[in-house]
């Protein structure tokens, strides 16, 4: 019965995103992005074809770069979607009082939090599948190229979305919607800046800068997941140069960081379930 109730809330959450046209808006904008992306790639590739006599390797570098650029945008959109859909899901329902008829049913509060989390997690997964899959399809269609480790990379993008989601759900268990938004995007910003400090530190060989970056990744592993995905999907050449606009392999997050992120999501989610139990509604 617990599983059923959690799934009812998960379904309701997913359903809410589609009924409130959040999903529709995200998909329309996503489609627009894919169309622009497809036209752009097609234009660039036909230009290259006209130039002719292009080294196979250079051709592949360009495709890799374009693919990564697309995923970079999708990663950003996923972060936005993850936070914007979930930031008021608890705090909003507490302040409007809609949560009162739900949690006075024969269920525990953590079931509500977990159900909502699952609903959003599914939503984010679907979004990445459609957007990432769409972008990869565009590159494959026009350029006959697929990023290495594409699906694992998309998995890390999903994990990034889940990190944002989990922190936002956690904040919602005790903060107002606005304060929660400030918290989540603030942490995201810290991790983002920390990630770049780490990369530059790695290039110039500054250990302190690298450590600052690692510390921010531990506090908020979101950016690290993108870096890990970019590291996996980069071309060999970029790997050898050690720097691209998306990643510097001098200090890329290790596989261990991925496990850390999984544990992070699990623990913060557990903490959220616990915090919400004690709240006066």
């Amino acid at each position: 019965m617990i599983v059923e109730r959690v799934l009812i809330i998960a379904r309701l959450t997913f359903f809410e995103a589609s009924r409130r046209r959040i999903l529709l808006a995200a998909l329309v904008i996503g489609l627009l992005f894919l169309v622009v992306y497809a036209f752009g790639i097609n234009a660039i590739l036909s230009d290259i074809a006209r130039a002719g006599d292009l080294n196979f390797l250079v051709h592949r570098e360009i495709l890799n770069f374009l693919s990564m650029a697309g995923l970079y945008v999708i990663n950003f959109l996923t972060v936005m979607l993850s936070v914007l859909t979930s930031v008021d899901t608890l705090s909003g329902e507490v302040s409007s009082g809609t949560i009162q008829t739900i949690v006075t049913k024969p269920m525990r509060r953590w079931e509500v939090v977990l159900g909502k989390w699952l609903g959003f997690a599914g939503l984010i997964g679907l979004y990445i599948l459609l957007m990432g899959g769409g972008a990869a399809g565009v590159v494959r269609y026009f350029g006959d190229y697929t990023l290495p480790h594409l699906w694992v990379g998309l998995g890390y993008l999903w994990l990034n979305g889940l990190i944002m989601l989990t922190v936002s759900v956690f904040g919602g268990t005790f903060l107002s919607t606005l304060a929660n938004g400030v918290l989540v995007f603030g942490l995201f910003g810290v991790a983002f800046v920390g990630g770049w400090i780490e990369q530059i530190g790695a290039i110039i060989g500054n250990a302190t800068a690298v450590n600052i970056g690692i510390a921010t990744s531990l506090l908020m592993p979101s950016e690290a997941m993108w870096k890990r995905a970019a590291f996996l999907m980069q071309s060999e050449l970029v790997g050898q140069i050690g720097f691209s606009p998306f990643t510097a392999s001098g200090s890329s997050p290790s596989a261990l960081m991925v496990w850390y992120a999984v544990g992070y999501v699990g623990l913060v989610l557990l903490w959220a379930l616990r915090t919400f139990r004690g709240r006066d509604l």
């Binding site: 019965m1 059923e4 109730r5 009812i8 309701l12 809410e16 009924r19 409130r20 409007s96 009082g97 809609t98 009162q100 008829t101 739900i102 949690v103 006075t104 049913k105 024969p106 269920m107 525990r108 004690g278 006066d280 509604l281």
Partner: protein
């Protein structure tokens, strides 16, 4: 009928920081009665109800509802609740809303479908079942919220200001539903600041003021809970007043006027005799049956406790 109380609390208390919302809630509600919880706005009614349902964690004290400690999910399976200023997601239709709450109770699909139809009919929303809640008026929302509180055929129904936002027709509907529930042997707990509402629908009522229950009255003993006497008298010594306090309640004496309450008229001659025997000159002796409103004003003050 089950002789153990359906709700019993002992010294429940809740503070939010410095502010005390409920100072001492000690009350008993019996199976099968319609219980009115009366008080001015801000007296602590909603916080009290939220403590019963586990929405708010008490700062102190204990309580039981439906034979389990407060906040027990299994006990909530047998309760229904209509919150104050009821609202729900506007993107659900009325029928979907009821289905959701029925599913959370684990009601079987076929049973639930039938019950949704019955409840929509009961609250007069048959034609609005397919409309989104966002398009509902305040009164319609209140009705669908009431239907939601009944979806699991609860033994105990807790209604927080059920008639707020309702037109006279809606108020009558609530009154009829409460009456039906009582006839079926269910217990109803109504929070209200509307005295007339409580007077008409309830068996028993408790007054709450500044977070404390100041009086519980049985509304069936007679239509009026007490007889209030307003007298004009000569000089009154403190020992006379002390003696009077043993015979009557809520004694007030000021500038030759005297007021006190006795449970019923049979007590009047005894009090009168006492005053005369004590040598008090009695110029006027006017007993008045009290309405709930008089009692409310007397207990809480004309300023409504603000």
């Amino acid at each position: 009928m089950d002789p153990t109380p359906i709700i019993s609390t002992h010294g429940l208390h809740k503070s939010f920081g410095e502010k005390t919302a409920v100072a001492d809630l000690t009350l008993t509600v019996n199976h099968g009665e319609v219980f009115g919880f009366l008080g001015p706005n801000g007296a602590g009614k909603t916080t009290s109800v939220k403590m019963l349902l586990g929405l708010v964690h008490p700062s102190g004290g204990t309580g039981e509802m439906l034979g389990a400690p407060l906040g027990d999910p299994a006990a909530r399976a047998r309760a229904g609740f209509l919150p104050e200023h009821f609202r729900f997601h506007g993107w659900l239709t009325g029928a979907e809303f009821l289905r959701l709450h029925g599913q959370l109770h684990g009601i079987e699909k076929s049973v639930l479908a039938q019950r949704i139809l019955e409840l929509l009919d009961l609250v007069g929303l048959v034609d609005a079942g397919d409309k989104k809640l966002g398009a509902y008026s305040k009164g319609m929302l209140q009705r669908i919220g009431l239907a939601q509180a009944l979806i699991n055929e609860p033994e105990l129904v807790i209604l927080d200001e059920p008639t707020s936002g309702l037109d006279p027709f809606g108020r009558r509907l609530v009154r009829d539903i409460v009456r039906d529930l009582r006839d079926m042997g269910r217990t109803v707990f109504i929070n209200s600041h509307l005295l007339s509402e409580i007077e008409v629908t309830c068996d028993r009522a408790a007054f709450i003021h500044q977070g404390r229950i100041v009086r519980a009255v049985d509304l069936h003993e007679s239509d009026v809970p007490v007889v209030r006497v307003h007298a004009r008298v000569g000089a009154l010594g403190p020992e006379v007043l002390a003696g009077l306090a043993a015979l009557a309640a809520d004694v007030q004496a000021e500038n030759g006027t005297l007021a006190f309450s006795v449970p019923d008229e049979a007590a009047l001659p005894g009090v009168h005799r006492y005053l005369v025997e004590q040598g008090v000159d009695v110029y006027a002796f006017r007993p008045e049956k009290q309405s709930l409103e008089d009692l409310f004003v007397q207990l809480i003050g004309t300023d409504g406790g603000q």
